[in-house]
Structures are given as C-alpha cells and as structure tokens.
C-alpha cells in the first residue's frame, strides 16, 4: 500500500519535472485517440445512413384478383415465418388505387380507365435487408405463392428491385469494410506513435532507471512509477479526446443534422458512451503496454 502511494507520488513528480516530454506524450495520445474517435463516430453515422437506405428495401408480391382469402392468409403466414422477415402486410386493390391516386399528379387518369387495374399485393418488410434475395427466392418457389400469384408468370409478380438491391449492397459493404480497414490502420498508427513517444520519455530517464538498479530497487519497484505515469498520460489524453468528441456531438452534429435533414445523422447516446469507453480502455492499454515494453530493455539484469 505504501509503495502504491510512493508510485503515485513519484509519477506526479515525474509529471511536473519532465513537463515537455509529458505534454508530448499526452498530446500524442490525445490526438491519436481523437482521430480514432472521430472516425468511429463518422463510421456509425455512415452506418446509420446505409442502414436507413437498406431498410427501404422491401418485397412486394402481387397477387391475382382471383386468389382466395384462405390461400392469401396461408401465404402471409408462411412469409411471416421466414427467416429475416420482420412484418407482412396486405394491400387490397382499393388501397393500391388510393395510393396511386395520392402519388400520381393527375388522378383523373384512373377514373378514365374505368374499373381498377391495380392488383392487390403482399408487402414484406425485412429485418435483415441483406437477405432479400434469399427471402424472395423462397417466396417464389413456394407452392402457396404459386396458388395466389398471377398464373401466367409467377416470377414477374415478385418485385424487389433486383438489380438496384445488388448494387446497393455492394456499395454499402464496401463502405463498411473500408471503414473497418481505415479504423484498424488508424489504431495501428496510433499504437506506433504512442509507443514511440513513451519510449522517448523513458529513454530520457534511463539514467534514473540505471541508478535505481544500482541501489538495488527490484524491477517491479522501478516499473511502478513509470507504468503509473503511462496510465496517467493515457487517461488525460483519452479524457481530452472524449471531451472534444462530446463537444462535437453537442454543437456540430445538430447543425449538420439541421442542414442535412434528409439523412439520419443523429447517433444514439449509447453509441457515444461505447465509443468513449473504448477510447479510454484503448488509451490505458496502449499506455500501460507501451510503457512496459519500452522499459523492458532497461530492466535486463
């Protein structure tokens, strides 16, 4: 217990007496973590946008006017039971017509047609949009659907924007993997940077370490203050980074959202908390491991 107090006292002293190297390593940790945090926030925003676009993907299955209610119920139950489907709804012929009228600029066209040419449809919302092909395939090949679909061409009665969906998912997947690779790269760069600054800070004090060894300090005792200092730098650097990101969340993001109202930019607080925690833990781990590694060569007996 007394030695922990001693380590703490020493690390505070080391802090004040090596102010320039201390500031150097704190700023390095701060900037590295800040940039990583920014990218994490950016990645979640992009992911949100991608998700909202992907969620637009749904399957519309047009059914024949002659389909019986029993068959329709059976098909809906079957589809609702499929993996990756979140909800199934039914649009009657009349509803389809209402919708068309609402969307169309000259609703009079419909009246001139006489009767209702629009088919009823089953709308399938997906919980996992990436599975759209799979779900569509299952619906298409099922006997139940064959019964309610237009007899001439069942394949044509299923609409989910095949080509567009394929391209969309290609792009969103590239975005996701690209983001992951970028963040991994950033973490690596930060690791190298932080490790280097800590190495320099410890190298500047190798004389002190040599003297500690000379008077018979055990390796654990020598390591203590340095590790604690490394941890302290990491915590301060991480706190600064978290503070800056929090400022961005409070000030910059709402403005961005206001000017880009059509995109869902706002990220949940939970995500931010997770990012903050990750930054703190990553900083601590890098600080501690970096210090331990840098010390190793000076502690060889």
């Amino acid at each position: 217990m007394s030695s922990i107090l001693y380590f703490f006292k020493q690390s505070i002293q080391g802090f004040a007496r090596n102010l320039s190297t201390t500031l150097g390593s704190i700023i390095t940790i701060f900037l590295s973590l800040f940039i990583i945090g920014l990218f994490l926030v950016g990645a979640t925003v992009v992911d949100n946008i991608v998700k909202s676009v992907e969620n637009e993907v749904s399957i519309t299955a047009y059914v024949a006017d002659s389909a019986s209610q029993a068959d329709l119920d059976a098909v809906q139950a079957y589809i609702a039971g499929l993996d990756g489907v979140s909800s199934v709804s039914f649009t009657t012929k009349d509803e389809a017509l209402e919708e068309f009228k609402a969307m169309s600029s000259n609703a009079d066209i419909v009246d001139e047609l006489g009767g209702n040419p629009l088919p009823a449809s089953i709308n399938v919302e997906l919980s996992d949009p990436q599975k759209v092909e799979e779900v569509a395939g299952k619906i298409q090949t099922s006997d139940l659907f064959a019964k309610v679909a237009d007899e001439e061409n069942p394949a044509d009665s299923l609409k989910y924007g095949q080509r567009t969906v394929e391209r969309l998912f290609q792009v969103t997947n590239y975005l996701r993997y690209g983001g992951l690779v970028l963040i991994a790269l950033l973490v690596f760069i930060a690791l190298v940077f932080i490790n280097n600054t800590i190495r320099l800070a410890i190298m500047a004090r190798r004389k002190e370490i040599a003297i500690m060894r000379l008077v018979g300090a055990s390796n654990g005792f020598i390591r203590g203050p340095f590790l604690m200092e490394g941890a302290l730098h990491a915590i301060i650097g991480a706190a600064l980074a978290i503070g800056c990101i929090e400022l961005i969340r409070r000030i910059a993001l709402p403005k961005l959202q206001a000017s880009l109202a059509f995109l869902p930019i706002q990220v949940e607080m939970n995500v931010f908390l997770a990012i903050y925690l990750a930054l703190l833990v990553a900083g601590l781990i890098i600080g501690l491991i970096g210090s331990a590694f840098a010390m190793r060569r000076y502690l060889k007996v």
């Binding site: 007394s2 040599a210 003297i211 500690m212 000379l214 008077v215 018979g216 300090a217 005792f221």
Partner: protein, 262 residues
C-alpha cells in the same frame, strides 16, 4: 607537468625500496566477502583479448583494498562483475557465500542492496536535491518514511554535508557531489562498499578528503574496495593493493604501493 611526473616516479621508486610489510592489521579470517575463483571475462567485441584472464582473489570482511591498474586493465570489469552487471565467461564469483553464477535474476537487486557503489561520475539524479538523492536509495528498497527521515540526515552529517540538504547536484562542487554519492552508497549500511575511480574527477586535496571518508567508513567495519589509478593516494595509505595488467592479476600485496609495474 614534468615535475609532477618526476615526483610521482621518485616516490614510487622510494616506496618500492621499502620492505613489504607482511604484518596484518586486519586478520584475513572468516569467509571471504568477495571471492574470485579463476574468473575470466571475454567481451564479444574482443574475443582474442580477455578483459580478465584467470583471476583468483579473496577479500575478507573489514579489509580496505586498492585495485590498481591502467585504463583497460580490467578494473571496471571486475567491479561490474561484483555487482553482477556482467557475468563471467568462466570461473565462479562468490559474494558473501552466494554464488553469482547460479543466482536468479530476481535476486540481483537484493545482492545490490548489500553492496554500496560509488562511481567516478557520481551518478546523482540532477532533478533531485541532495536529501532526495540519498533518500532515493532507501525509498526504492521500500524503507519507511520515518527511517528515511532519521537515517538520511545522519549519513549526510557523516560525510559533512549536513548544511546542503536542499541543494541540487549542479550547485555542488565535485568533492561534495562525490560525498553525496558515497552517502547514498552507505545509507542502508551495506557490508561492502565498491568504488570505481571515486577520485578520478577530483583534485588531490579533495581526493584526500574522499579517501579519509572511505577510511572512516572502513573503520566502522565495512569492507571497502577502491579501484583507482591515483598513485599518490595508494602510496600514502599503504593498504592492500591488488594490481591488474591487461586482465592478469600481477600483484596482491599487503600494505602495498601503486608500484611501477602498473
């Protein structure tokens, strides 16, 4: 310059002419503190020229021993072997009945707590005061604050620096700095004090003060080993002299002099 050299040579001749006294003030008894048994050390950079070649010697408790020799004769290597900063290529070194060859790495700090070390360049921490520098040696081996507060002023009084507790090392003269480093070496009362060129940076007057201090420490029962090439000092004090030349032990003499052979 020439005069000084002549004087040195003359006094060396004179002391060589004196009979070597075999009388022993300190009986060499008990287990030796330091024991070298056919120790050789070869640095990888110079495989054909061993730094120490087949050196055997014993140093007993309470002795005051000078280790003399030119630069590169192996003095510093011997000192670094004693504190196990280096390991011998062959042979065994025993310090206080403990074989350094089989000593585990984690035991080394405990060995060093029993050996006070003084170096030519003082090795003081520049950003700590005199008091803190000495206290450091106690703190890092986990001594309590009350022990630090009583023992540090006491040892600084012993070396005559009781007024300089709050000075920083660069506010001290060379002699004072060396006293601080001696105080740091003896503050936890090690049975063995090893000095590598303690007066190498100091003028003769100050050197004498340092040697007096080492002698006083020796009188309290501490074994003292001083590696030096300070001819005048060795000749004045007439203590046991071990001479090294190119890694060979050439002379081991009670009440010896620096001599002309080294």
């Amino acid at each position: 310059m020439t005069e000084a050299t002549n004087q040195g040579a003359r006094s060396a001749d004179l002391s060589m002419a004196l009979p070597v006294l075999q009388a022993e003030d300190i009986p060499q008894q008990g287990a030796p503190v330091i024991s070298f048994d056919r120790v050789s050390k070869v640095y990888p950079a110079q495989p054909n020229r061993p730094a120490l070649d087949n050196v055997s010697l014993q140093i007993y408790p309470g002795e005051f021993v000078f280790l003399v020799g030119h630069s590169g004769s192996g003095k510093s290597t011997l000192v670094r072997l004693i504190i196990r900063e280096l390991r011998p290529t062959s042979g065994t070194i025993t310090i206080a009945n403990e074989d350094l060859g089989s000593m585990r790495n984690w035991r080394v700090p405990y060995l060093r707590r029993n050996i006070g070390c003084v170096f030519q360049d003082f090795k003081l921490l520049p950003n700590k005061t005199v008091f803190e520098n000495v206290a450091f040696a106690l703190e890092v081996i986990g001594k309590s604050r009350s022990i630090v507060r009583t023992q540090v002023p006491e040892v600084l009084r012993l070396v005559g620096l009781q007024d300089k507790l709050d000075k920083l090392p660069d506010q001290l003269s060379g002699g004072e700095a060396q006293r601080v480093s001696i105080a740091r070496a003896i503050v936890n009362r090690p049975p063995l004090l090893v000095c590598d060129e303690p007066t190498g940076n100091l003028d003769p007057q100050t050197s004498r003060g340092i040697m007096d201090l080492l002698e006083r420490i020796n009188r309290t029962g501490t074994t003292v080993l001083v590696a030096t090439h300070d001819r005048e000092m060795v000749d004045n004090m007439r203590r046991r002299v071990i001479a090294l030349e190119r890694g060979h032990l050439t002379r081991d003499q009670q009440r010896g002099v620096y001599g002309s052979d080294v």
